[in-house]
């Protein structure tokens, strides 16, 4: 297999894996449905998402 074919194959496998994992997770947690307001600013709710800074 030449380099270009390998490159395309690895890219395809990567994106298929990403989509499959997201789909599996979405299916597995389908009972949980949360819908925050579209914009945090003006929502009247305190920010509560997880962040790298440790919150």
């Amino acid at each position: 297999m030449n380099g270009k074919k390998l490159f395309r194959l690895v890219n395809a496998v990567f994106w298929l894996a990403v989509l499959a994992l997201v789909a599996l997770d979405t299916f597995d947690t389908r009972g949980v449905r949360l819908e925050p307001p579209p914009f945090a600013l003006g929502s009247g709710q305190a920010a509560s998402g997880g962040h790298c800074s440790g919150r």
């Binding site: 380099g3 390998l6 490159f7 690895v10 890219n11 990567f14 994106w15 990403v18 994992l21 997201v22 599996l24 997770d25 979405t26 947690t29 389908r30 949980v32 949360l34 819908e35 925050p36 307001p37 579209p38 914009f39 945090a40 600013l41 003006g42 929502s43 009247g44 709710q45 305190a46 920010a47 509560s48 998402g49 997880g50 962040h51 790298c52 800074s53 440790g54 919150r55």
Partner: protein, 397 residues
């Protein structure tokens, strides 16, 4: 038919945004769209935090550092008044000055040079198809997951409490942030001038080595002309300042939509924890993943997590930008380089949790939030990068 391919790329992105909005709400859809913007700008402008630092360390080229400081100033100018006036709806990235921050930032700075990308760099290069970043991403996720689990233990080692300059009012906080960024930019320019004075002028035309290095850096094609390999002594390349402007705009929008600054490694850690859960690991009793709000993040769909959806969007945005002008170019790294990058990815993931984030969550987010930990992170990570660049030279490409 490049227009048809471009249309497909745009349609693919919009379909993804709509799918996320349908599955997890309008906010998550908007964040995916912003993530696509982040990825497109990072890849399109080749806005690398790692590369910017390396260019300065190796060639005294300050352009990347200048762009980063411009980004910090603009992001702070947008976010500080918003955070101060939001009444808690918006929060900054504020963290304590712990021993773990010092150790973690130093390790991260060294590792990111070996992995050829920080948190955002690894993601956008993986999205664009860079083979090295494909290899780094899984170990980064594992390191981030384990590092998060150990984070409470590292914090318990002690340190100083968080210093939030916003407590003195946003005008003062912004003035101090601008002064800090200005000082760094001035020092970088001065170092360049001193270096130029002691060396013969650089060649005005890019050498084959420059071109090869450019391909290695990007991993793929981009809509930035390859000839734009500005070296020390030349003008400030457009890609740098334009990238900073666009990233600052996206950063502000992200804060308004998400309520928190742009982050990367938290989401990657969640991915690692989700995979570990699927393999039988239980977060119950874990000092990090077993407590709120992280336990809820694990129980909720991945698409409900803020950093996860921006990360996914970023991957796609980088893919779209790298294929905008046709098929991507690439170069396979040596096995030695690949193994070193995988180990570096593991270290990077782990240390980013010790240090409260990567270049985006701690460096950009911290400084733009007027938190002192962002400056400490910068100093230590830059020192680590000096070591990392030396190790990288020994390993080769």
């Amino acid at each position: 038919m490049p227009w048809f391919f471009r249309l497909l790329l745009i349609a693919g992105g919009l379909a993804g945004v709509l799918a996320v909005a349908y599955a997890a709400g309008v906010r998550q859809g908007l964040l995916t769209l912003l993530g696509i913007g982040f990825g497109a700008v990072l890849q399109g402008a080749r806005f690398g935090f790692t590369t910017g630092w390396r260019d300065f360390i190796e060639h005294r080229d300050p352009q990347g550092l200048w762009a980063q400081m411009l980004l910090m100033v603009l992001a702070a100018a947008v976010s500080l008044p918003l955070i101060a006036g939001s009444g808690g709806e918006l929060v900054g990235a504020v963290a304590p000055l712990t021993i773990s921050l010092v150790l973690g930032a130093f390790l991260f700075g060294a590792a990111m040079q070996l992995a050829d990308g920080c948190g955002s760099g690894t993601l956008y290069k993986a999205g664009a198809g860079a083979p090295l970043s494909f290899a780094v991403l899984p170990t980064f996720a594992l390191g981030s997951f384990v590092g998060a689990s150990h984070q409470p233990g590292w914090i318990a080692l002690g340190g100083l409490p968080a210093v939030d300059l916003l407590a003195w009012g946003w005008p003062t906080a912004l003035a101090l942030t601008v002064a800090g960024c200005g000082l760094v930019a001035w020092l970088a320019g001065r170092a360049q001038a001193q270096s130029a004075a002691s060396q013969p002028a650089a060649s005005p035309t890019p050498t084959p080595q420059d071109a090869a290095q450019q391909v290695m850096r990007a991993g793929t094609a981009s809509f930035v002309p390859a000839a734009e390999t500005a070296r020390a002594g030349s003008r400030w390349a457009r890609r740098w300042w334009l990238g900073a402007l666009l990233l600052a705009a996206l950063y502000g929008l992200h804060l308004i939509v998400a309520g928190q600054p742009w982050g990367i490694v938290y989401g990657i850690g969640v991915w690692g924890a989700k995979i570990a859960s699927a393999l039988g690991w239980s977060p119950v009793g874990d000092p990090f993943w077993g407590v709120e709000p992280h336990a809820t993040r694990l129980a909720e769909p991945l698409l409900a997590d803020i950093t996860s959806v921006t990360n996914l969007g970023l991957l796609y945005g980088a893919l779209a930008a790298s294929r905008w002008n046709g098929p991507a170019d690439f170069r396979l790294p040596s096995n030695r380089r690949l193994i070193a990058a995988c180990v570096a990815g593991l270290v990077m993931g782990y240390s980013s949790r010790m240090a409260f984030g990567c270049n985006v969550g701690a460096y950009l987010g911290g400084i733009a939030s007027a938190s002192l930990h962002g400056w400490v992170w910068f100093a230590l990570a830059f020192a680590g990068s000096i070591i990392g660049v030396r190790i990288r030279r020994r390993i080769g490409s």
